[in-house]
Amino acid sequence: MINWQVIGQLTSLAMIVLVGPAVIVVLSLRKGDL
C-alpha cells in the first residue's frame, strides 16, 4: 500500500521550498529589478 499522506506532505513541502527560488529565476529570465 502506498502512503498517500507522506506523498502529499512531501509534495507540499517541495512546492513551498521551490517556489521561492522560482521567483528569482523568473525575475532573472525577465530581466527584472533584482
Partner: protein
C-alpha cells in the same frame, strides 16, 4: 459534498502558488505594476472569495 471541498482546496493551492510567484515578479519588474495592477487586484479578490467559499462549504460536511 466532501469532493467539492477537496476540489476547492486543490484549486486554492494551485491558485495560491500562482499568486505567490506572480505577485513578487510583478512588483520587481519595471513598469509591470501599472500594467498588471487590475489583474493582481482581481486575483487577490478571487483568492479571498475562494477562501471564504471553501470555509463555508467545509462547514456543511460532517
Amino acid at each position: 459534498m466532501t469532493i467539492i471541498v477537496q476540489l476547492l482546496v486543490f484549486i486554492l493551492v494551485i491558485f495560491s502558488t500562482l499568486l505567490v510567484v506572480g505577485i513578487p515578479v510583478t512588483f520587481a519588474s519595471p513598469g509591470q505594476w501599472e500594467k498588471s495592477k487590475n489583474l493582481i487586484y482581481t486575483g487577490a479578490g478571487i483568492w479571498t472569495g475562494l477562501v471564504l467559499i471553501t470555509g463555508l462549504v467545509n462547514s456543511f460536511i460532517n
